[in-house]
Structure formats: structure tokens, C-alpha cells
Subunit: 98 residues, 2 copies
């Protein structure tokens, strides 16, 4: 499947242009989100969880109070960044705007 | 407040007797939970989130697909384990049984 081919560095850099705050690190896309409190952070996580399940593409993520850190990688591509990750990052950005 | 006094090693060890799978590490109580899939894992997280907010005691936790790792510590006690953590661990054990 083309969507689980690792993206080239150029493709990832291009995708990052429209993904503010996301960084490419250790074969993952990473972003830290800070909210007003735990309720806001977990509400965001719930929306992301629904997107993750719908896309069958689940994040590696952690939460402490009002902060949520998300790492995206494609396990089936040998833990490399693929379009499934950039698409999920975009979906997460859309969730933030809700 | 007595509830945010760090617990002695003896007290933590005693609490752990009734908290199967929890370990005391680096001034935190830790347990890893594995579920059948992401939906089960996130459903558990939602229940834990409601307990956390109700108790105003929020975990440091992470999730990857069907696994949830939880670290409990009391920030207001200088990141030591207090009865707020052992009580939260018990509440989490109760949530698992739901």
C-alpha cells in the first residue's frame, strides 16, 4: 500500500510547512499541546481517540494534567513517518480548532 | 494536609499488598494495563479521567494502542507517593472491574 511507504525527508518537510508546531524526530512526528486544564486536555484526547479509531491509526501519546504529547509513526512501515501520520497530524490540527 | 504527606516506605509497601501489579518506582506508583484493543484502552482511560477530575488528582499516563501506563505521584508533596496516590490506584483498580 502506498500509504504505508515511508515518506522521504523532502516530503515530510513539505508536509510540516502546513503543520505548525509539529516536529520530525526519531522517525516520528511530534507535537506538544497545552490546554487550560485537565478537562480541556482530556476532551481533546477524546476527539483525537475517535479520529484514531476511525482511521485505524493510533498515536503514541501521554498526558500530564493540561499537557498532551503526541508521537505519530507507522508501525507497519517499520516505525517510519508515512502519509498516514501526516494525515493524522492534520486531523489532530482540525480537532484543536473544534 | 495529612493526605499530602509523603508515605513512609512501610506504608507504601502495606498499600501495595492490596494493589496487584502496581510497583513503587522513582517516587511514583506505576502500573501497566493491557486491553483487547484501543477502544477498550481508551474506554478505561475515560473512566480513569473522570475519577482523576473528581479527586483533583491527575495521573501521568501514556497510551499506545491497547496499552496504558499510569504513574501516580503527588506534585504538592514534592513528587512523592502519598495516600492520594494509593487511593487513586485503588479507584483505578475499581474502574478495571467495571
Amino acid at each position: 500500500m502506498p500509504e504505508i511507504q515511508p515518506l522521504s525527508e523532502a516530503h515530510v518537510e513539505q508536509a510540516l510547512q502546513s503543520l505548525p508546531g509539529w516536529v520530525w524526530t526519531k522517525d516520528m512526528l511530534y507535537k506538544s499541546f497545552t490546554f487550560s486544564d485537565f478537562v480541556a486536555a482530556f476532551s481533546f484526547m477524546t476527539k483525537v481517540a475517535l479520529q484514531a479509531e476511525k482511521r485505524d491509526h493510533h498515536p503514541n501519546w501521554s498526558n500530564v494534567f493540561n499537557r498532551v504529547e503526541i508521537y505519530l509513526t507507522t508501525h507497519d512501515a517499520g516505525n517510519k513517518v508515512t502519509v498516514r501520520d501526516t494525515a493524522m497530524a492534520r486531523a489532530i490540527e482540525d480537532v484543536v480548532k473544534l
